[in-house]
């Protein structure tokens, strides 16, 4: 099962937790100095270290269709940069453990684990398992003083980046999110939009992650993040209560209108989908529409993304055709359950 199809801790505020470990092999340069032959050797080495282990499957990314690659980006399983690559690259995945190792991304190996809700500990443990297998069979670039050596110095040391996707409608509506973003940067955390660096926060979804990777232990990174996540979740929940106390009718109207659109509209674009998603998800969190589960809504958002919709159609779609199919998926999935 994919991460968004499973329930996770504290789903009212946290959509997902993603852990990434950057690892590199000694004796191989980074792009653009890495030759095609070198990239293929790295892929073979990673394959011998991991793909034969139980639960891991090798995917040659050169053979994957572009729409499929884009759909993997929409599911947050690979990075957009990785999907755009034209040089040899591969993925070794363990769907059960939700671990995806990108080979020949910016770093030679990027071990990712993505889990539903707030689960940094679970995600890190799963990623470490793949890390240990790589560690024992390959010569990983490590320096006693500097730690794990990475292509970009910003990832040096632990090579660990934990990114949490938060759903913050109340802090967005009240504008409090801006001051929180400022405070986070002071404690070494960075806030980004929904789809990564430089992107806007759609659907009241924000990604925040650690900036510092060196001079701290993995546990310290995790606990710093846990503390910050706890404070944000508290602020969001308090603000939700206040909003509901002061504007219940208006909020109910907003949520039910969004739900109505999802259940009846004939064409829905991606931008509108994000708005509807945010309103209905807020409705679940505020107890306005209890018949819908977070998992149902989160997986619907991903299933309705452009490339993923196209794959479901089985052929290339124009934008209006996609909007029509998206609305159809929404109508079918959001009908009230008959009791």
């Amino acid at each position: 099962m994919l991460w968004y199809e499973t329930e996770g801790p504290d789903e009212d505020v946290f959509v997902s937790t993603r852990v990434r470990l950057a690892r590199n092999l000694i004796d191989y340069p980074f792009e653009p100095r890495l030759s095609e032959a070198g990239a293929k050797e790295i892929i073979e080495k990673a394959k011998s270290a991991l793909a034969e282990k139980e639960g891991y499957t090798f995917v040659d990314f050169a053979k994957v269709e572009d729409t499929e690659k884009q759909s993997l980006v929409e599911k947050h399983l690979v990075s957009p940069e990785f999907a755009r690559k034209s040089t040899p690259c591969a993925v070794i995945e363990n769907e059960k453990k939700q671990v995806y190792v990108m080979i020949c991304e910016e770093d030679h190996l990027r071990i990712q684990c993505i889990r539903s809700g707030f689960d940094p500990h679970g995600a890190l443990s799963a990623a470490r398992e793949a890390d240990a297998a790589i560690d024992t069979s390959l010569q990983v670039a490590f320096d006693e003083e500097l730690g794990y050596l990475t292509h970009c110095p910003t990832n040096l040391g632990t090579g660990l980046r934990i990114s949490v996707m938060l759903f913050l409608p109340a802090l967005t509506i009240t504008g409090r999110i801006k001051s929180i973003q400022g405070q986070l940067s002071k404690i070494g955390l960075t806030v980004r939009g929904t789809t990564g660096e430089g992107s806007a926060a759609k659907g009241c979804l924000y990604q925040f992650s650690n900036c510092v990777t060196q001079g701290v232990t993995e546990e310290e990174i995790l606990s710093n993040l846990r503390e910050a996540a706890g404070s944000i979740a508290r602020a969001e929940r308090e603000t939700r209560t206040q909003l509901l106390e002061n504007n219940e009718d208006a909020l109910r109207d907003r949520v039910m209108r969004a739900l109505g659109t999802m259940r009846s509209a004939y064409m829905v674009g991606t931008e509108e989908l994000y708005r509807l998603y945010a309103d209905v998800r807020m409705g679940i969190a505020m107890g306005i529409c209890n018949e819908i589960a977070y998992t149902q809504l989160d997986s619907l958002l991903i299933r309705c993304m452009p490339a993923t919709v196209t794959i479901q159609a089985g052929n290339v779609l124009s934008a209006p055709q996609r909007d029509k199919l998206r609305a159809q998926i929404l109508r079918t999935s959001m009908q009230p359950v008959k009791k």
Binding site: N24, L25, I26, D27, Y28, P29, F30, R33, D135, T136, V140, A141, F142, D143, E144, E145, L146, G147, Y148, L149, H151, C152, P153, T154, L156, G157, T158, L160, G198, V212, T213, Q214, G215, V216, T217, E218
Partner: protein, 165 residues
């Protein structure tokens, strides 16, 4: 709007520079912009490309002429200048080849330049031996201070044995 540099021609190039939070705005005419680009070499650098991070690398003056014998990385052949331009290293060995040159940048990025996190298994054993040594040395210091010489002699033997390994 007139060019802010020559104050004569019409400004056609608008450029904003942000160095460590200090923002400077330029409105330049074509000639002044070309002159400035020649001077700094990166007026039109992609703000999201390597150059943004490249500016983090310190110790490389703006207008150095490439020397004949520039130091190169032992594995990939990259120079520190190339690292600074890209904001990224050429290969893992670059960190060793340019250890001194990179130190200020790493300190600025991470606050400290010493790794405290996990290490591959083969490094773990060495690391625990180092930690044990540090703790024994601490105990030895304390033993000498409290004039517990018998204990100090035992500790000294242990330290010698550990160092001899």
């Amino acid at each position: 709007m007139k060019c802010t540099k020559c104050n004569a021609k019409e400004a056609t190039v608008f450029y904003r520079e942000n160095i460590n939070g200090k923002e400077t705005k330029y409105a330049l005419c074509g000639d002044c912009a070309a002159a400035m680009e020649k001077e700094t070499g990166n007026l039109f650098a992609d703000p999201f490309g390597g150059n943004l991070l490249g500016s983090l690398f310190s110790g490389i003056p703006q207008k150095i002429q490439p020397r004949k014998e520039e130091k190169k990385c032992s594995l990939c052949g990259a120079t520190f200048r190339q690292l600074a331009e890209n904001g990224k290293v050429g290969c893992p060995a670059c960190y060793n080849s340019f250890r001194e040159e990179l130190a200020p940048t790493l300190k600025r990025l991470h606050g400290t330049a010493v790794h405290r996190g996990r290490a591959p298994e083969k490094f773990q054993a060495k690391r625990s031996a180092m930690e044990k040594l540090a703790s024994l040395e601490q105990e030895l210091k304390k033993a000498i201070e409290t004039e517990a010489y018998e204990e100090a002699a035992k500790l000294r033997d242990q330290i010698r044995a550990l160092r001899g390994q």
